[in-house]
């Protein structure tokens, strides 16, 4: 597609439930990233995939958070036993392979998660 696509755009769930957030990166971008943005703050890094593998998951806050990218394209961020503190906008981004250089990051419109 033309840009990074994220679904759903909004998700409301009850505390304790499981949620999945989906990201479809820009075609040809091998690097995929998840960030989280709380109200009034800048995005914070969660996890980065190069191809199918998680190259860096150091930003995941705890083991309730998990992400996969089984075929090296679409990625799913999974949150178990959601808590009210998980409420935020979850942003997905992609870039050309960083390999030996860096390249601009392009963000999707985000999924606004609200845990009640």
């Amino acid at each position: 597609g033309a840009g990074v696509s994220q679904t759903p755009s909004n998700k409301v769930t009850e505390k304790g439930k499981y949620v999945e957030l989906r990201c479809d990166p820009i075609s040809g971008h091998t690097a995929l990233y998840w960030y989280r943005q709380s109200l009034g703050q800048g995005p914070e890094f969660l996890i980065y995939f190069q191809g199918t593998g998680a190259a860096d998951d150091s930003g995941l806050p705890n083991d309730r958070f998990f992400a996969v990218r089984p075929e090296g394209s679409v990625s799913t961020l999974k949150i178990q036993r959601t808590e009210r503190g998980d409420s935020a906008v979850y942003l997905c981004a992609s870039s050309l392979s960083p390999a030996n250089y860096n390249s601009p990051l392009h963000f999707g419109n985000g999924t606004r998660l609200t845990v009640t």
Binding site: Y33, Q41, P98, N102, P104, L105, F107, N109
Partner: protein
């Protein structure tokens, strides 16, 4: 980790005015990007500029990596320039767009 400070935190402009936004960072970087988040929340990449100067229309940016700062210039501002401008960096010798964002500069351009 690396610290990123942006100034000013808030900026109100009259349409047509020029402005300069600043980003200071605490460590050497090999990746610096400027983003605009519009009032609907969409983050748009403005510049990938780890060093040097770039221009894109009414916007330009300069990064002086040796002095650990970057500047974003907005000329002849328009109401559509309103939103939050973020600077984001990654430490030298890192790779992968694991960016650390500053707190942003909130810009309101009045007609």
């Amino acid at each position: 980790g690396i610290q990123v400070e942006q100034s000013p935190p808030d900026l109100i402009l009259q349409e047509g005015a020029n402005s300069t936004l600043r980003c200071n960072f605490s460590d050497s970087v090999n990746n610096l990007q400027w983003f605009h988040q519009n009032p609907w929340g969409q983050l748009i990449n403005l510049f990938y500029i780890p060093s040097g100067t770039k221009q894109n229309g009414r916007l330009s940016a300069t990064t002086v990596a040796t002095e650990r700062y970057s500047l974003l210039y907005i000329s002849s501002s328009q109401t559509t320039d309103s939103g939050v401008y973020f600077c984001a960096v990654e430490r030298l010798k890192a790779a992968g767009n694991k960016l650390t964002f500053g707190g942003g500069t909130r810009v309101l351009v009045k007609p």
